[in-house]
Structures are given as structure tokens and as C-alpha cells.
Symmetry: C2
Subunit: 223 residues, 2 copies
């Protein structure tokens, strides 16, 4: 029997590649997506499509946060727009930062993983071509892995660990890896806005476009 793994899915490119990577490594993949009050439902819709395409299990966890504090949650706040990749990298932590988001997601993943007896949790975080979120850094993920190993029954028994194999890759490297695994880029959604098409101007669209350009690959979702 294949070992189980929990895969955090956001509907975006990185986590889709993560799923195909984990599947390639022989894991029985249980995807976990979150409805946490984000601006649009595309994240969970696309996550479902990606999981189905990969033949993986899929669960949505509704996290009804009684607080906001992010332009991704609060429609009264403006989203950054039209920033260059350089400006995004040098601009500090942007308003799209959601308070402790990856910590919330990873804690749910840890609980889910224990409940189903999974051996690993995969997160597709990377920092090099990201928006500068502190919870996408390697030292943060190392600290969370320690939380799992010290604070869960499965972790203390050496049966559960956090994996983040994309952490040191650039966006273009993740795209190349995804191409190798035949990850369905067409079924991924990166745009912070929930329009009929990606806006092309939000930080997430800008970083995605740069990634495909650097990789020398055409983005099937926008072309």
C-alpha cells in the first residue's frame, strides 16, 4: 500500500506541481484546500479540478476567520497592481499577506494528516520568486516541521514530517519541473482577482508571467 501524504492545494501553479511531484514519489495523495474567505472561489474550484485530474483525493476545509487584516480577505482594501517583479521583490511584505496563513493551513494539514495516518505533508512554498511572505521562507518551514515533530502524536513517534522540496527553486524552475511531470498548468489559477480571465497586473499574475518567460514556456492558461 502506498504511504499517504497530505498536499496543500491552492489552485495555483506551485501547489499543482507539488502534487504531481508527490504523486511521482509514490504517495497516495490527499489534497487539502481552504475556503478562508478569500476574494473569490476560484482557488477551491481550480484545486478541485487539479486534484481530479491527478486522480487524488480532495477535501475543502472551511476556515471562517472572524477577522481580516489582508487585502486578499477585505474587499475594502486595494490590491497592489502593476508592480514590476523587481518592485514586488523589494517592496517588503505586501497587503496581500494574510495573517499567519501558512501556519493556519499547515496546522490543519497536520491535524488531517494525523487523522488519516499520513506520513508526510507537502507544501509548494518557495521564496525566491514570491511576494516576500515570511511564511514562505525555509527557516519558517523548518520551524514548523519541528512543531509537528514535537507537538503531534504522529510526529513524536517519527511517523509524520513536513516536506517542501520546491523551497529553493525559482518560479521558472518550478514550471520546468511541472512540465516534466505533465502538471496541468491550464487548470491552475494564480490571479488574486476573480475575474473571468487573469488580470495580468496583480503581483501573482506578474510573477507567473515572469516565471513562464524565464522558463521559455508558453502559459496555456493565458494564451
Amino acid at each position: 500500500m502506498k504511504p499517504k501524504a497530505v498536499i496543500l492545494l491552492s489552485g495555483g501553479l506551485d501547489s499543482a506541481v507539488m502534487l504531481y511531484y508527490a504523486s511521482d514519489k509514490g504517495y497516495d495523495c490527499h489534497c487539502l484546500a481552504f475556503d478562508y474567505g478569500q476574494r473569490h472561489k476560484k482557488e477551491t474550484d481550480f484545486s478541485r479540478l487539479i486534484a481530479r485530474k491527478a486522480g487524488a483525493k480532495f477535501t475543502v476545509f472551511k476556515l471562517d476567520l472572524p477577522w481580516k487584516g489582508s487585502s486578499l480577505l477585505d474587499r475594502k482594501m486595494a490590491l497592489p497592481s502593476g508592480r514590476s517583479p523587481l518592485k514586488i521583490k523589494g517592496g517588503g511584505i505586501p497587503t496581500t499577506y494574510v495573517p499567519a496563513r501558512n501556519t493556519l493551513f499547515l496546522s490543519a494539514a497536520a491535524s488531517f494528516a494525523e487523522a488519516i495516518g499520513a506520513r508526510a505533508i507537502f507544501i509548494g512554498a518557495h521564496y525566491e520568486d514570491s511576494s516576500g511572505y515570511p511564511d514562505c521562507r525555509k527557516e519558517y518551514l523548518e520551524a514548523f516541521d519541528k512543531v509537528i515533530r514535537l507537538g503531534t502524536k504522529a510526529g513524536t513517534e517519527g511517523r509524520l514530517a513536513l516536506k517542501y522540496p520546491l523551497i529553493s527553486l525559482k518560479k521558472s524552475g518550478i514550471i520546468k519541473l511541472g512540465q516534466k511531470f505533465k502538471a496541468p498548468f491550464r487548470l491552475t489559477w494564480s490571479c488574486y482577482n476573480g475575474g473571468p480571465k487573469p488580470c495580468g497586473k496583480c503581483d501573482s499574475c506578474v510573477l507567473r508571467a515572469k516565471g513562464f518567460k524565464d522558463a521559455g514556456i508558453k502559459d496555456p492558461a493565458t494564451s
Copy 2:
């Protein structure tokens, strides 16, 4: 203006003492309780009473876990009953362990703390007279503090930290501290069962009774 703090409230004795301790230290206390599918609603009901008595703010976060894996969540599982304090301590991690519970609670507290600009998160965890849950150990809490410092905006800016001042106390010590602060023991609920009165037989009732006995104080909630 007083600095804000988030206090994790469970309706039990330890977190009530924690609240009075933080209040004594001069914090503007924002209590956070969880409706996470536990067997009964007494935890949130008593938490509300305690927060009101202390004049603190109060928020309930509904965590609708799509999985179980604990006798505190799954009514088809039996609760341990009639165990001596010695047996509880030596019995390993019991079925009442909820997968990654404190990690879930602390991640929500971190998110809430950032959203309201709190400077500290207080958790009343202690290990000496506990049920042996791994997420009540000092090394776990140290690891989670690191997660906050590395993975949140407020933490990276040195504006948020985790506090667990009861960690090295025995239950009797916590009760004595609570007496000093005039914490309302009468308004606390420890029993894992949700009957009209505490059952007196579950691990939590047994540890509470031992604590009051060791402290030489009468428990107003059971007498």
C-alpha cells in the same frame, strides 16, 4: 493604552488563571475560544462566562474539522474513565488527544493577534499534571514561538510572541495562583463529559480533584 493580548480560553481552570494572570500584567485581554466539534458546548459557554467576569473581550472561532481521530470529537469512541492520576501520567498519549489541537488553536491565535495588533499570545498549557499531550510540552511551545517569530509579519518585526508562564507549574500551583488573582473557579468546567455535573471519573476531573486536594483548597465547582 494597554497592550493587547490574545488569551486562549477553554473554559477550564488553567486558561481561566492564565486570563487573570495576563490581566494582572496589564494586558487588554482578547479571549479566543473554539467550537471544534467537541462532545459538548460547555467549553465555549464557560469560556464566555469567564471572559465576561474578567471584563475581557471574547471571540468564538468555529473550526468545523472535516476529520476526527479523537475520543473528544468522536462519540463512538469511549472516553478513558476511572484512571488514577498515576495511571494517567504513565499511560502514554490517551485517546482524548485531538490531532494537532494546540497547533490549530495557536495558529488561529497568531492570525487573530496580528489582525488586532496584539503583542502577546497567552496559553495556559502545563505538562506536569496533564494528560501527557505532546502539545503541552515546553519544547513544543518554544518551537511554536519560533514559528510566530519567523512566519508572521508581526513576529518578524518583533511585535508578537507566545507566552506560557504556567508551563512548569503543577496543577496545585496553578490553583494557588488563581486564588491569588481571585480567578472564578466556580465558572470553570474541566469535565470531558457534558453532563449537568462534572462526572468525577474522566482524566480531566481526576487531575482537577488532585490539584485542589494538593493545594488544600476546596473546589467551588464540585462542592
